[in-house]
Subunit: 224 residues, 2 copies
DNA sequence: TATTTATGATAGTAATACTATTATTTAAAA
DNA sequence: TTTTAAATAATAGTATTACTATCATAAATA
């Protein structure tokens, strides 16, 4: 028997559930490929439709617009990250070790997860790095937030926040530190590859250096 | 005699220097207003031209496209921030006090600077918070970087980096910490107003709490 | 005064972001 | 098995965006 992880998606994100049909699954898969390859700005429903072999109208039956589709795939990944953290820190008792594991999950490139055969997590991770903040840095963030589109992100943040509090119950900024870890992990990776003078990481052992930086930042902060 | 601060802009950003004409200055001013009000995605050269009372083609004579215009106004603000830091930390000898001042400049809302009569820094600060990362989170970041479009941002980062090293010459991640401070200052402000559950700040004394968080994060980190 | 230069007015194109219509296929219900 | 409903394909069309091109005119400069 094959175990499959199912991540429950907010129905406000789609018009028709993409997980319920072949076309829907294609839309998700090819979106991930195209957004990762050319960036979100260059991504259009027309190009997507051509890649899949369907028509623009076909895509519009599933998603209202490309922003909702972006938030859909990001939500999926936020949910998957939450599951990963839960799964991989399950048997760890020491909260320090737990938090170290969390940082590693957030900041290092993932290998493709066999429990979700239909999605390539490695590509999603790269999308999160470059396009993640575009989910909420819009003028309709309020409207989207009221529709609970960022709940998976908040859940993830809360989960990390709880682990921080396990390490130090008196630490005053667990939520801010959580969102800081998540966002800085992505930004430092982006800078490292694209604007390296904004970082202190040299060409060798890049991921380890990012981890070292994040660990230093986080643990100096909570052990005060 | 009136002192005016001049910020030198990279000529690759524009086709015709907007500071050399009334129309050019209008383009900058109205862009700032419109981008702040409606967000960068909703901003178009047509709407800008209508607001100014010129034509679309008129705007295109100054800027190749709206991305370059965004980077132009962000560069201006990065340059202005660098000047502010220089100016306001000039007579401070204690590097800790200096760095505290830097954090304050980066993270609190600025009052309009009388030395730059033609630009509203408060609006620019709000633009930097929401649109700042969009300057480089593109698929043409490499091309832009080769044209030195991010030099003002890097200069700012280096300046902060140097102050960090003054505080602790053995600290290993001065550049990463600089870019972290800059970006987290903006993100936490954005979260505080739009997605508050990603922070630990309540409705009173918001700015002070952000400052407290950033100071705690930075100084725990470099005093190790 | 002649000439360059900036602007205004207008037109036009290709691509984007959609909506609508109809025919056809596929799947579910009767 | 037939009927019906639902999903898809094919096509067309609209408004807006992101530009480029042309030409006339006004202002600045030589």
């Amino acid at each position: 028997m094959k175990l499959e992880v199912q991540i429950k998606m907010n129905p406000s994100l789609y018009l028709r559930d993409p997980e319920q049909s072949e076309l829907g699954k294609n839309i998700i898969n090819y979106s991930i490929q195209l957004i990762q390859k050319n960036g979100f700005e260059a991504f259009t429903f027309k190009k997507l439709a051509e890649a899949i072999g369907t028509t623009e109208a076909g895509v519009y039956r599933y998603f209202e617009n490309k922003h909702k589709l972006l938030v859909y795939i990001l939500s999926w990944y936020w949910g998957w990250l939450q599951f990963q953290i839960h799964y991989q820190t399950n048997n760890i008792t020491d909260p320090i070790v737990k938090l170290t594991m969390v940082i590693k999950i957030l900041a290092t490139n993932v290998e493709d997860d066999i429990m979700t055969s239909h999605v390539d997590e490695s590509l999603l991770h790269q999308i999160l790095i470059v396009e993640g903040t575009k989910a909420f840095l819009t003028n309709h963030v309020d409207k989207d937030n009221k529709q609970k589109l960022f709940k998976p992100y908040k859940d993830l943040c809360n989960m990390v926040s709880d682990i921080i509090l396990e390490c130090n119950p008196t630490y005053k900024y667990p939520h801010s530190l959580s969102s800081t870890i998540i966002e800085i992990a992505h930004l430092q990776i982006f800078f490292m590859y694209n604007l390296p003078s904004l970082t202190d990481f040299n060409k060798t052992d890049k991921e380890d250096q990012i981890l070292a930086y994040l660990n230093h930042l986080v643990f100096s902060s909570i052990n005060k």
